[in-house]
């Protein structure tokens, strides 16, 4: 389905070429910024670590801006793992328990709540929120802004004075930043504070070089074409592995139940849709929640084993390699409770927002539109579905009530058109249809 450059048939070579071009622009380019678009699992973190190490090696004082504390800690750990000699500063908040305790074991990582204490270190890493409070310091020569598409324009405004030049890395297909209050009055302004940092940056600096990572190492060959077509129609990417490189098998045969059949389908094809009868339900639809929990339970009970390029022997599918994704926090809470009731623990259950940037072997998704009487902008948001459908290395099972296609047809997108705002393609409506029509090929219907 997806087209890619036939001149570079090897995904590894294509990715290496892209990385080389990005590093060349970052280290030797003349423009103040470089933007890198990265589809899900395309090695964004690897790129950030590599760019950080090369900038540090070139003697350029570097600040790294990430969006959450978990991302910051993860980056520091990766940096320390790759280059144990490098001194890294971890700027943290003055709350209690502000960083991952694992950092305490690393001698080369200096931690402080004051930027002044970390002055002179080759690399200092912190969240955008913490950087925004740093004042009266010598600006850094270079910055790396991670997850820049999830950063809001006003957050960039607060930190942009701290650096001379920057590398902006992010995934344009994930959830856009949002505001809890209306920001319509600034819609269409190039510096709309509620828009993403990248859109403001590019509106004011259209000449900046823009790069793209072309290969998703996370998504299997079964998922990359669908995700690419549905969410990145104009910037296609491919999977790093071919069909058959990833396999999922179960030690226990199917008992013929719907959850087992959908698991077999997902193991075989990478996708599975467990369809419950159409019915309007409350958000925490008890039947759908139970179905999700049951699928997870069977997934663990049946002794799943994953074969991938990472290991020669099958790796047992354990609870920590499984995630459940929902749209709302109360749904996540309901699934957690249902899993506990079935005696399952250790499985990550979270909303799309919190699953951003994470990776699992198998994901079970409660479809955002399942059982809804309406399709609001929130539930239609392209990024939400994209996050939920692109967290897995092997297979994704979607649990949904029937009738979502009709619901979509009854609720075409009717958001007001704002002058000066770049229309995002594809819209959530179209992306939802694209994903659903693919999923129906892997459908197992079930009446609990």
């Amino acid at each position: 389905m997806t087209l890619y450059d036939p001149a570079v048939p090897d995904p590894g070579a294509a990715a290496a070429a892209a990385t080389a071009a990005i590093l060349a622009d970052t280290l030797h380019g003349t423009s103040r910024g470089v933007v890198v678009d990265s589809p899900p699992g395309a090695g964004k973190s690897t790129l950030v670590v590599r760019a950080a190490l090369e900038l540090a090696a070139a003697g350029r004082p570097l600040m790294v801006v990430a969006q959450t504390n978990a991302q910051v800690d993860d980056l520091v750990l990766r940096l320390a793992e790759k280059e144990p000699e490098l001194e890294v500063g971890r700027l943290h908040s003055s709350d209690s328990d502000p960083y991952d305790k694992a950092l305490d074991a690393l001698e080369q990582v200096r931690k402080s709540a004051k930027a002044g204490d970390l002055a002179g270190l080759p690399v200092v890493v912190s969240t955008a929120a913490k950087w925004a409070h740093v004042k009266n310091v010598e600006p850094w020569a270079h910055a790396i802004v991670d997850e820049a598409y999830q950063m809001r324009s006003d957050a960039l405004l607060a930190v942009a004075g701290l650096f001379e030049r920057a590398l902006f890395v992010g995934d344009p297909g994930q959830l856009d930043p949002f505001s809890v209050v209306g920001a319509d009055q600034w819609a269409g302004l190039s510096y709309d504070p509620s828009a993403s940092a990248v859109s403001t940056l590019l509106a004011h600096n259209p000449e900046l070089p823009q790069h793209r990572l072309p290969v998703s190492w996370r998504l299997p060959a079964s998922a990359a074409p669908l995700v690419s077509d549905a969410f990145y129609p104009y910037t296609p990417f491919r999977s790093g592995t071919g069909p058959g490189d990833r396999r999922l098998a179960f030690g226990v045969a199917s008992d013929g139940s719907a959850p087992d059949r959908v698991l077999d389908e997902a193991a075989e094809s990478g996708w599975g849709l467990l369809e419950l009868p159409a019915r309007p339900t409350p958000r925490t639809d008890p039947e759908a929640v139970h179905a999700v929990a049951l699928v997870v339970r069977r997934l663990l009970d049946r002794g799943g084993a994953a074969v991938s390029e990472r290991s020669d022997t099958p790796v047992p599918l354990t609870a920590d390699r499984i995630a459940v994704g929902t749209a709302h926090r109360d749904q996540a809470a309901a699934v957690r409770a249902a899993l506990t009731a079935l005696g399952v623990s250790g499985v990550t259950v979270d909303t799309a927002n919190r699953l951003q940037g994470r990776e699992y072997d198998v994901t079970v998704v409660l479809h955002p539109l399942s059982g809804r009487p309406d399709a609001t902008a929130f539930h239609l948001e392209t990024g939400r579905l994209c996050v939920l459908a692109s967290r897995h290395r092997h297979a994704c099972v979607v649990v949904c009530r029937a009738g979502v296609t009709d619901l979509l047809d009854e609720h075409p997108s009717t958001e007001p058109v704002q002058l000066g705002v770049t229309v995002k393609f594809p819209d959530g409506w179209e992306a939802n249809h694209a994903v659903l029509s693919h999923l129906t090929e892997h459908r197992v219907t079930w009446t609990p």
């Binding site: 910024g33 925004a132 405004l157 942009a160 809890v180 009055q185 709309d192 509620s194 940056l201 004011h204």
Partner: protein, 529 residues
């Protein structure tokens, strides 16, 4: 919409009466608000047709533009409106109290205490509907850049003296209305919808007449019937029984009544111009006055029901006691009013057409902070609002069943008592999640430690227990106490300081161009009919 609001709506459908969403009033209502009911002309953006304005429900001032396309008459209307609004606003400018405020000296960077004026009260503007707030903004936008003959003797169409000033105040009020929880400019429909749930859609809830039919029905008429009549009921002449709350008028009124009356007025005006002798001129003038009176009568017929409904809404809200933290938010409104008063006194130019990058970001941050604070304060002020948060797992009410003293393991041990509490709520608690309770108006925090086998929760109290080893008296709950805990913080965090506009970074286009006073919009052919 929260689950509890859904339940209230279903109950409203079942009973035919609006159901309360609050037990206290969550917005400030001043003793003497200025009610403004504006009407606009169909098809002409920003061409007012008329307004009722005043602080006395029995004596509204009627302002009418008999020919809305006439620029002179439009200005006359705005001048009259300024005569009503500005004295009301000015009446609050001089009564001040002196308060101390921390300010940073720009040169030394030291924090010093300075005494500044804070207006003791602020003028409050009430419009019937959300569209009315939008119209206040539009009037402000269309008048604040106008030039008076005094400001610029060469301006081709000078505005009456006080009109630009009116525009600046209306703009300020329109902008302040975007701050969650602010009360300087309020819409009656928003006020009612905050405090009551009806059995109709939220779109229908924007109709003031329909809303009142649910909340305050005549003769116990079921809400759905009353609302249906308010929305669609027409008299034998085809006119709505309950005219829309504006600023848009009903097309049937426009076509059948207003258009002929305005035409008659136009003809009468032409007749006055064409009169050749005194006698015909007198007769023509009398006809003109009659025609004008007719337009005024018609416009009043559309305005008066909305005027009365707006005051009825205010009366309903006054029956609710004010929430404990409402005065705190009103103080912020007073600061906002005082600051704008000072800007005008200092001779600063009118608000720019568009915010620059820094101002926009600062406003958004302030509003998000205000929203967080409003959500928390409403829940703390009102058990019914708190019940909604409890239902959604964001708060819980619990009885303390055991208190175990414990201390930190540091050189100077600080108290960290463990509370075992029992609750029937189902809060979304994970290990380490912080919870807060109000202790003498200040938040005291605890962290969730574990869940006991019998379902009790164990909380570790973290702060506000004084500096000594033994917690200060009254700071640790006792066995048997019933306490409401929230998972959300009670105060919103203050955001980071943004750069000055002159230091806008390159990512945001650099500093804005010079902040000279903006000129009014250029005159286009469409302006001159």
């Amino acid at each position: 919409m929260s689950l509890i609001a859904h339940l209230a709506r279903m109950e409203a459908v079942e009973t035919g009466r609006a159901q309360p969403l609050a037990t206290v009033r969550h917005r400030h209502l001043g003793g003497r608000p200025l009610v403004l009911v504006p009407l606009t002309t169909a098809g002409e953006a920003g061409a007012p047709l008329g307004a009722l304005v005043g602080t006395d429900p029995d004596e509204p001032r009627l302002l009418v533009v008999p020919q809305p396309r006439d620029r002179e008459l439009r200005f006359a209307f705005l001048a009259e409106l300024a005569e009503e609004v500005l004295p009301y606003v000015d009446g609050y400018a001089d009564a001040v109290e002196l308060v101390e405020r921390n300010e940073t000296d720009p040169e030394t960077g030291k924090k010093t205490k300075v005494e500044v004026e804070l207006c003791a009260d602020a003028p409050q503007l009430i419009v019937p509907s959300r569209a009315g707030i939008e119209y206040v903004r539009l009037l402000g936008r269309s008048t604040r850049f106008r030039r008076t003959a005094e400001q610029d003797p060469d301006t081709p169409y000078p505005a009456p003296p006080r009109v630009p000033l009116l525009g600046r105040w209306l703009t300020h009020y329109g902008e302040r209305a975007r701050v969650p929880g602010s009360s300087l400019l309020l819409a009656a429909t928003d006020l009612l919808n905050r405090h009551w749930a009806t059995g109709q859609s939220s779109l229908e809830d924007q109709h003031l007449g329909a809303l009142l039919a649910w909340i305050d029905p005549y003769d116990d008429e079921p809400g759905a019937e009353g609302a249906h009549r308010a929305e669609l009921g027409r008299d034998p002449q085809g006119q709505l029984l309950c005219p829309p709350a504006g600023p848009a008028t009903d097309p049937a009124f426009d076509n059948q009544l207003l258009a002929p009356a305005i035409e008659a007025y136009d003809r009468a005006r032409q007749a006055v111009g064409a009169a050749e002798d005194g006698e015909t001129a007198d007769a023509a003038l009398a006809a003109l006055h009659r025609a004008e009176r007719e337009v005024r009568r018609l416009v009043l017929s559309q305005l008066r029901p909305t005027w009365d409904a707006t005051w009825r809404a205010l009366g309903l809200l006054r029956q609710l006691p004010e929430g404990a933290r409402v005065p705190d938010r009103w103080t912020r409104d007073r600061w906002s009013f005082t600051a704008h008063r000072d800007r005008i006194t200092a001779g600063e130019p009118p608000q720019p057409r568009r915010d620059d990058a820094v101002t926009a970001a600062a406003k958004l941050a302030a509003r998000e902070q205000a929203q967080g604070q409003l959500d928390a304060q409403e829940a703390l002020d009102d058990p019914l609002v708190l019940a909604g948060r409890r239902l959604s797992g964001e708060a819980f009410a619990a009885e303390v069943t055991e208190v175990t003293m414990a201390w930190t393991e540091s050189k100077r041990p600080a108290p960290r008592p463990l509370l075992t509490v029992r609750t029937e709520d189902r809060p979304h608690l994970d290990a380490g999640v912080k919870v807060y309770r109000s202790l003498g108006g200040k938040p005291q925090s605890a962290e969730f430690a574990r869940r006991e086998e019998d379902g009790s929760l164990v909380l570790r109290l973290l702060d506000r227990m004084g500096r000594s080893k033994e917690p200060a008296e009254g700071t640790v709950p006792e066995k048997g106490e019933r306490i409401s805990w929230t998972l959300f913080e009670h105060d919103a965090r203050v955001g980071p300081k943004l750069p000055d506009p002159e230091e806008t970074p390159w990512t945001h286009g650099g500093p804005p161009r010079s902040a000279d006073a903006e000129l009014p919009d250029a005159v286009t052919p469409e302006d001159l009919l």
